[in-house]
Each structure stands twice: as structure tokens, then as C-alpha cells.
Amino acid sequence: MEASFLNLSAKIEAVKEGQISWPFVAPPFILIPVIFIALAMSLPLFYLLIRVIGAEDVWSLILQQRTLQVLLNTLGLAGAVTATTIIIAVPLAWLTVRTDLPGRKLWSILTMVPLVVPTLVGGFAFVAAFGYGGIVHNFFVNTLKISYQPEIYGFFGAWAVLSLLTYPYVLLSVRGALQGMDPAQEEVARTLGKTLWQVFWQVTLPKLRPAIASGGLLVTLYTLSDFAAVSLLQFDSFTRVIFLQYRSAFDRTYSAVLALILVVVTIIIVSIEMLTRGKARYYSVNRGVKGRMKRVKLGKGKVPALIFCLLVVALALFIPVGVSAYWLIRGLLQGEPAMLRWEAAFNSFYASSIAAGVGIFVTLPVAILSVKYKSKLSSLLEKATYAGYALPGIVVALSLVFFASNYALPLYQTLPLLIFAYVILFLPQAMGTLRSSLLQISPNVEDAGLTMGFSRFKILWSVTIPLIKSGILTGAALIFLTTMKELPATMLLGPTGFRSLTTEIWNATTEAFYTRAAGPALLLVLVSLFSLGILFYQEDREI
């Protein structure tokens, strides 16, 4: 034992001295943690595989007609939502970054705020406004004495809620790209006789493609794994069917089979994205100094631009908040006790903060590996860490319940296990911003540090991390925000008696106590607002 240990340390020494060459592109202090992270992140996937492979009649389960229907439902929804968010977000980003839109600063904030409205709250508000016993339904039935069936359930409802609440992901990454873009290239295009409109299509948009793709990927993945909106609006996409199957059936294998198909779909989508991303380089090879950008004058376009912004904000922000406020006030007037649970709020805040910290710590080496040390191995490891995001929260939760109860009983129903689930689920949230900010650093800057006698590890701390500080904070904020909104994993993995804002809302909505869900819903929106504040403060400081 001791001999082999000595042997190992001798080997490490030999690698350092260069007698044994380190066979990988990435240095050990990046590669080794990433391997462990990738293994941990793919743990639920392994469980899923074991469950499915170990089951009988797998093929007859897969080949049910129901499976195909669910697959088509899910893909249709994901495609429609992604396309809609891009159509909403790209013009919004351009208007708020590059033009003289009146109240630009305010619109920048307002258009981003739907990020704090969880799909759970959105779904609740949609149902509480237009569904059975909702504001509109009550008005028709009680005041006008007309009875009708609300037809918001199914595809339309799920599409509307998800599109309106997830477009900020595309907006965020496109805004970042627009702000980091060197205006010289657009000016060159203008001097070559292109109109403003042609410049946008031929220069700006192609350069935005990576940002649109990374934002769009987030939206697609979000839609695939969203549970709250599709469940509340009763659209049979994978997550809802898996949950119903798990809750109602004795045999949980079919839910595992469906979950596995969902994972496969996601892996295919992520792979396509990685293939098309290619060798995009964002940094400017010339001087690191950017010119000042001039804002485009909108002129007569101001009115339609303002109407567009107002419409989006009204639908995505004012409706959910307004409906929640309506039900809260109504509840208070009717003398219902205000159901603000400070304990639930504290739990949500506390768990999300830890998840954000741990998540960034874990994402950083993966992002560095995928940007700075490209290889087949690094892209495989990156994919492995993405895999967790593909799993719906419910599946991650189930597999971790299984894992803990079989192999790590002391962890079962504890906060660390819940945090672990959050990190698995939300790591790619930070990945996009970290990747983008790492891509902005010219590789020469780090090489320069090396030639000055600092090791790669020290360069990481004294050069790389300070340069991507804003990316780190943005990434942490994104993990925090998403964790606040997480429902299924929290329901299943939380310690006994753990109440969060989301579980409060879920319980109240499913029991149609809209007045009771309104308080936590507003509180959740409010708390998330603070994170967004941090995010904007950061953006301001960068100038």
C-alpha cells in the first residue's frame, strides 16, 4: 500500500518534471475535477439506464402509440416556444441596446423581469385568470350569467405561458453579445453602401447567431424539462405524463422509459447545437480596445417599437403579477389569513443561495475545459454535464431518492442531496455566460501570464477569474433564480417538512385555493427581483 503510494507521488513528480508527458491537452487541476463532476452529473442518467435495461418488455413499452403521441406533443411545444422566444427576444435586445428607444434603461429592466416569474406562477396566474373559477370565468358566469367551458388548457396555454416566461433567456445572451460586439464591423458595412436594415441582416445577425443559439438552446431545454406549466395547463408532454404515470401506476418502469426517451431527445438537440457551433471565435484579434457604439435613431419607428415592448411586458409581467395581486387582495378582503409563510421564503432563499455558490464552483472548471482545452474528451465531458439538465426535475429527484436510499442513507432527505439535485439541474444555466465571457479573453492574455512565471493555476486566479467576474456573477444569479422556481425536485427531495415557496403555490393551486397561492407567488416574484437587480447592477458597472 505504502509502496504504491510512493510510486504514485513519484509519478506525479515525473509528470511535473516532464519525464512523463501528461497525455491530455488540459492540465490536471482542470481535467480531474471535471471528470468527477461529469460522473456526478451523469449519476441520475445511469440510474435511469439501469432501471430501463433491467425492466421486462422494454420494447413493448417503448412502442406504445401513447409514446409517439407524447413525443410529438413535446417536440411541437419545444419548437414553437423556441421560435417564439427568438422572435420576441432579438428585436427587444436590439431595441434596448442599440437604439434611442425612449426609456431604454427602463425597458431594459422591464423586459428582463419576466425572468423572475416562474412558470409555476405563470401557470397559476393563467389558470386563475382564464381557467375554471378564474377571474374571466367568474365574471361571465356570475355577472353576465353566461356559462361556458374555458378552452385554455392544452397546447395553447402551455405554449403561451412558456414563451412569455422564457424569452428572457434569449434576450440575456443576445444583449450580452450585442454589448460585446465591436461596432467597427457594422460601420465598415455602412461604408460599403449597406442600409441599416441590410447591416442588421448581413452583419449583426450572423454575429449574433452563437448567442441566439445558446439562448435558444436554454429555452428548448427548459421547455423539454418544464413541469409546472404543462402540468397546471394539462398538456401531455413528457414531464406531465411521467409524473402522472409515476403517481398513478404501480409499475414505475414506463415513467422511466419515457424519461429515457426525453433524455435521448435532449442529447440529440444538444449535439446538433454543438456541431453547428463549430469554431466560433468571439474575441477581437486586434487591439483589445472597443470603439464607442453609436445608437441607431428610430425616428418614426419609435411608436411601433414602444407598442411592441409594452405588449410583451404587459403579457409576461403585468398579467401574472396583476392576477396574483387580485387574488391576494380578494383573499385579504374576504378575511382569509394572509398565507405568507416566512419559513418557506427563508428556505427557498437559503437553498438557492447555496445552490448558486456550489453550482458556479462546479461549472467553472467545466466551462474552462470546453473553451480553452478543446478536444474530443472535453466535448464528451461537457455533454455529460449537460445531461443532467435534460432530465426533468422529477427524474433527477426520483433517481437520487433511489440512490440515497440504497447507497447513502444518511443523505436521504437532507439539504445536501437537494442541493446536489439543484446543481445537476441548473449547471448549464451558468455554463452559457461563463463560456461567453471566457471566449472574450484572448488566449494571449493567459499565455502572457505564463511567460511571466506564473503557473496555469495562479493565472486562473489572478487573470482569468477577475476577467470573467461579471460572467461568474451573472451565472450565479441565473442558478439562483432558477433554483428559486424549482418545484418537482423540491417536492420529492426536500427534508421532511421542508416547505418552499414553490411547494406552497403548487399545493394551493392544485386545490384551487387561488387566494392561498397568490401570496407566495408574489413573494417569489419579489425575492427573485433582487437577483435581477444584482444582475443589472453588474451590467452597469461594466459600462
Binding site: 484579434v285 487591439r287 499565455d447 502572457a448 505564463l450 511567460t451 487573470v463
Partner: protein
């Protein structure tokens, strides 16, 4: 010997041709050496190999008697003590000028450090810019910060990768002299990489001309310019007229279509052997009734010199000559002129065909 490279090879993954092939050379103490070649010839790769930012596939690199790269041997860049100035300067955007310059100092002895940073700032003349951010500096100032940053650790040598290519013309000339002056003053040997032959000729003690990953010729600027040993050098470093010729029977003359020229140098060629000769455009003089006659086809006035393209009339070949003449000659297109060849401006190139 300060730096010694032996048989260095490097091929990048997914590249068909090697970036660097069988390269060997040496850098002496206090010397300024320039790697000159067209873009993509492997000169930057060579620089990165010396710095330790790339690892050679084979061959070895010795820095001050110590092997830093070779079989079973690898010293990482941070332990080599080699300074580098990058083409884009690669200044740390989050640090001000002073912190950029002092970044490489490890010794925590505060007063000593302060003195050193002050000295270095004085050396590069940035006393008034110390608290500025790199983004607020001009190109020339950024360049000086990059140089100071590389010099502060007292490196064995400084590597400069196309350091002047991002500067405009007026500034380039000035910075070139300034940088060389700073390097000489600090007695630091340097390896420059450039594709600008004029730059290479004016700053170097020694030039290595590179093409397609290989060294084609090395020597002092005068040797390289006046006696190119390969067609590539003749046409890449300055301009050249290339002619076919034959060694005369006594071995001391070269017979060409332009005439027979004396070539009293050792050349190791047999009489009758076919060779290629290079004549620099500066090797001609306009004279009354010279042996070479022709008509001026094009004129380019360049201030200190006039470029003439002359179509030969009294020779049996269909060839145009590029000739530099002093602006004192008032000539016009279509003029008939006659020329003679100055001694010592003719070089024999053995092994290659004229580049067409």
C-alpha cells in the same frame, strides 16, 4: 550560447503540413535575431515553442545550457524565464498600467519592487500614464507597457511576435527604434517575428528567413540582402532579377543572356553547370553606351529612389529588368537607356528554379 534549437519539428493536429520542420538555430548573448517570412510560415509557432507555449514533436531546445524541451523533458513556460510581447499586446484589461507592469514580480520585497517598477516605467517613458487602464492608452503606449511587462522579470531573452504590425506607419518607425534602443539598453537579447523585410533588415543582428516551416537562409542583414542563397530569399527579401546562367570553362565567370559576368567567389560548381543568378535592382547603373540597352516601360517614383522596368532591346531575350536608379536621372517612359552592371551585386543561386 543563450538559446539553441536542434532539429525541431512540430505538426499541429488536423494539419496536413508540419508547422515547423527540422529547424535548428542559435541565439547568442546580447543578439537581436529576427525570424522573417510570409504569414503561415511557422515563425510564430517557433516563438511559442521557445516560450514553452507549444511542445515540439521532436528535437530539443536548450536555454542557457539547460534543456527545456526534448524527449522526456519539458519545462513549462512559467519556469523558463522568457519574456514575450504579443501581437495584440495581451495586456491585462482589469489592471492599470502599473499593475500590468509589476504583474510578473514575485518577490514580495515592497521597496525593491517599487524601485524596479519605477525604473521600468521611466525606461519606456510612461511616467504620466501609470494609473490609466490599457484601454485608455494609444497603440504605441500599449506596446511600451507590453515591453516593460516582459522586461521587468529580467528575462533571459524577450520574444516579440509581430510587435509593430498594429501600429500606423509613422509610429512604427519610431517605435522600432525605441524598442531596439530599450532592448540594447537593458542588454536583453531578443527574437523578433516579422513579415516585414524592411523591419527585419533595420533592427536585426541576424536574420533567419523562413518559408513553409523551414529556415531557408540565415545571416546578417547585409548577407541576406546582398547574397540571397535561394530564389525565395531573393524575391522575398527585397526584390531581385533572376536569370539563368552557365559557369564558364575557367570557372570564374558566369555566362548569361545579359552577358558574361565575373564571379570571383568560391562556388564549388563545375564548368558548364547551369545555375541561377540573382541581380538586385540596385546593381545597375545608367551609363552612356553601356553593354545592356533597353526601353523604359514603367516608372515608379519613390522619393529616394526611382523604380524602372526596362524592356531589353539589344539582347536576344524577352525579359524585363527591375532597376533602381538615383532620382537625379530625369527619365521618362519610352526613353531608350543603356546600363552597366556593378561588380559584387550578382549572386549565384544553386538549387532552385526562378519563381514565376
Amino acid at each position: 550560447m543563450l538559446v539553441k534549437l536542434e532539429d525541431i519539428n512540430k505538426t499541429f493536429a488536423q494539419a496536413a503540413e508540419p508547422a515547423v520542420k527540422d529547424v535548428s538555430f542559435e541565439v547568442q548573448e546580447g543578439e537581436i535575431l529576427t525570424l522573417l517570412g510570409p504569414s503561415g510560415c511557422g515563425k510564430t509557432t517557433l516563438l511559442r515553442l521557445i516560450a514553452g507555449l507549444e511542445r515540439p514533436d521532436s528535437g530539443q531546445i536548450i536555454l542557457q545550457g539547460k534543456k527545456v524541451a526534448g524527449e522526456n523533458c519539458w519545462i513549462p513556460p512559467e519556469k523558463r524565464g522568457v519574456g514575450m510581447v504579443f501581437q495584440d499586446y495581451a495586456l491585462f484589461p482589469h489592471l492599470n498600467v502599473r499593475d500590468n507592469i509589476s504583474f510578473g514580480l514575485k518577490n514580495k520585497n515592497e521597496t525593491n519592487n517599487e524601485n524596479k517598477v519605477r525604473e521600468m516605467i521611466e525606461l519606456v517613458g510612461l511616467e504620466n500614464q501609470v494609473d490609466k487602464n490599457p484601454a485608455d492608452l494609444s497603440g504605441g503606449q500599449q506596446q511600451r507597457v507590453a515591453l516593460a511587462r516582459a522586461l521587468i522579470t529580467d528575462p533571459l531573452l524577450v520574444l516579440l511576435d509581430e510587435p509593430f504590425s498594429n501600429l500606423d506607419m509613422n509610429l512604427r518607425e519610431k517605435m522600432r527604434r525605441e524598442v531596439v534602443h530599450i532592448l540594447r539598453k537593458s542588454e536583453t537579447p531578443a527574437v523578433f517575428v516579422t513579415h516585414d523585410q524592411e523591419e527585419a533588415l533595420s533592427i536585426s543582428d541576424k536574420i533567419l528567413v523562413m518559408n513553409r516551416g523551414q529556415i531557408v537562409q540565415q545571416g546578417s542583414p547585409r548577407e541576406v540582402y546582398e547574397s540571397p542563397l535561394a530564389c525565395f530569399v531573393a524575391s522575398f527579401v527585397g526584390q531581385s532579377n533572376l536569370l539563368d546562367g552557365t559557369i564558364s570553362s575557367d570557372g570564374e565567370n558566369i555566362i548569361t543572356e545579359l552577358g558574361t559576368f565575373e564571379y570571383p567567389h568560391q562556388h564549388g560548381r563545375e564548368p558548364g553547370e547551369e545555375v541561377i543568378i540573382s541581380i538586385r535592382p540596385d546593381g545597375f547603373e545608367l551609363v552612356e553606351d553601356g553593354p545592356i540597352k533597353g526601353v523604359i516601360k514603367e516608372i515608379a517614383y519613390k522619393g529616394g529612389v526611382v523604380d524602372l522596368i526596362i524592356e531589353l532591346t539589344n539582347k536576344n531575350i524577352n525579359k524585363e529588368l527591375l532597376v533602381h536608379v538615383h532620382p537625379k536621372y530625369r527619365v521618362a517612359e519610352g526613353d531608350e537607356v543603356s546600363l552597366k552592371l556593378l561588380p559584387h551585386f550578382i549572386t549565384m543561386i544553386g538549387e532552385c528554379k526562378p519563381v514565376m
